[in-house]
């Protein structure tokens, strides 16, 4: 869930923008460096960003019978790495604010911190850990997508709790309050997103192995490595 335009008090909006800025600037520098050595990858980054935007517009069924949208942070982090996702995610959030009025410009920093920084880093860390511990691609991708989604919502809960502490129990009570509200919808959605992401990656390993190899998700087949 995006924090809506104007929802955060000015100080919080500025503080979260300052917190997200180093990651986004680091991502932008990484992208600028990459484009200097490989100008053609600009088009791939454009494709990756457009893919992230459209992925977040897919409607996934939820337990309540309504629909919700995947965050796409897990798949994005595994495919394109967290530094690139910090930049692409922020651009996508800017587009969502100006094309769909979802999120906003004053809350761009807070949303970028939860969806373009925290979510992707948690997802990528979990993916690397799962693979290092001997987990397969499907397990790694499932955990990355599900926990990346949950991490995003936990950070959003903390952001809202800091802005609006509970009258009786302060910030900690507000974290529990916002976290419980999100948990009802988000735990099933995180599992849904994990399952969906595994299905997408399994499909892609069949129909688009060359692109996944180029992105480093699959190892090149020995024969092709020699040919390349």
């Amino acid at each position: 869930m995006h924090i809506a335009e104007g929802y955060l008090p000015p100080l919080h909006a500025v503080a979260w923008t300052v917190a997200a800025a180093p990651f986004v600037v680091h991502g932008a520098r990484a992208v600028v460096r990459q484009l200097r050595t490989d100008p053609e990858s600009k088009l791939l980054l454009g494709a990756a960003g457009a893919f992230s935007f459209v992925l977040s517009a897919l409607k996934i069924p939820s337990v309540t019978g309504s629909c919700s949208h995947p965050t796409g942070t897990g798949l994005g982090a595994v495919l394109f790495r967290p530094p690139v996702m910090a930049l692409l995610g922020t651009i996508v959030l800017f587009f969502q604010a100006t094309l769909l009025a979802h999120g906003g410009l004053t809350t761009l920093g807070a949303n970028a911190f939860s969806m373009a920084v925290a979510g992707p880093w948690v997802a990528y860390g979990v993916y690397r850990l799962a693979r290092r511990l001997g987990g397969g691609l499907a397990l790694g991708v499932f955990l990355a997508a599900a926990l990346g989604d949950l991490a995003t919502y936990c950070v959003t809960s903390v952001q809202l709790a800091l802005a609006f502490p509970d009258a009786a129990s302060g910030v900690l009570g507000a974290v529990v309050k916002f976290g419980s509200i999100f948990a009802i919808t988000q735990i099933p959605l995180a599992i849904s997103e994990g399952l969906l992401t595994v299905l997408i990656v399994r499909l892609l390993t069949r129909v688009s192995p060359a692109e996944l190899t180029r992105l480093g998700l699959l190892r090149p087949a020995p024969g092709k490595e020699i040919a390349a």
Partner: protein, 248 residues
């Protein structure tokens, strides 16, 4: 086409320089967030709505189509302030939270209308090439322009794939829904990278050197518009503070 993008291309302020519209809309946005919600949010919201539906010529139906979903989020997002956690009973209705919830809803609605004043009058194709002048690296604005260029094609593709799947009962059960959704995700990935590859080939054949230059239409900044915007923003700030003084 997305409703907000359609409005951005068809409104009366479309030929204006994006900088003028950004000054007015983002100025109102800052007022919405920084001024005391009572009566600041009411003033900012009323001014933004009047400009949007009046001089900018955005149709009320268009504005409502864009606003209805985020307004729902604002309403739902304000409700937790009416609940207190801790003590006995552990979770309970908290009437003392009502003023804060109303303030929050008013501030967010005013901010949303200010954002809409910019987003519904300025297409991103006008904004993105000019971001370089604000210090955004050219490589970043070019990637953003490419995303903007590709995402409508991909949204159309997803729509077409979804319709085809729905007409073949692709969303009849949970398992068919997941299979259909994963096919949608796969289809957009394949199409996005296929399009990027084709663009890459096309540009390579035209001597691509790493820079995607696009012609940006030159538009003069209207000084009367900027001056009127500054006066209006000053009036909003002054009016809010004066009314607040009267309200005590």
């Amino acid at each position: 086409m997305l409703p907000l993008d359609a409005a951005a291309y068809t409104n009366r302020w479309r030929p204006r320089h994006p900088g003028e519209k950004a000054f007015l809309s983002l100025g109102l946005l800052v007022c919405a967030v920084a001024l005391p919600p009572w009566p600041g949010a009411l003033l900012v919201g009323a001014v933004a709505a009047a400009l949007l539906l009046g001089p900018a010529g955005v149709r009320p139906g268009q504005a409502w189509r864009v606003l209805s979903v985020p307004l729902g989020f604002v309403t739902v997002g304000s409700l937790p302030l009416l609940v207190a956690v801790g003590g006995t009973p552990w979770i309970r209705f908290e009437p003392a939270g009502l003023p804060l919830a109303l303030e929050l809803a008013a501030r967010a609605t005013a901010a949303l209308l200010s954002l809409l004043l910019f987003a519904a009058t300025t297409p991103l194709s006008d904004t993105l090439p000019r971001l370089a002048r604000l210090g955004v690296p050219a490589a970043v604005t070019e990637v953003a322009t490419l995303i903007y260029r590709m995402l409508f094609l991909l949204l159309d593709s997803v729509h077409a794939v979804r319709e085809a799947q729905a007409s073949r009962l692709g969303f009849r059960t949970w398992s068919t829904s997941y299979r259909s959704l994963s096919a949608q995700g796969g289809a957009i990935f394949v199409r996005a990278f296929d399009r990027a590859r084709r663009l890459e080939d096309g540009l390579a054949l035209r001597g691509y050197s790493g820079s995607l230059r696009v012609e940006v239409e030159q538009r003069p900044v209207s000084r009367p518009f900027v001056a009127a915007s500054a006066v209006l923003l000053g009036a909003v700030v002054g009016g809010t503070l004066a009314l607040r003084g009267v309200m005590g």
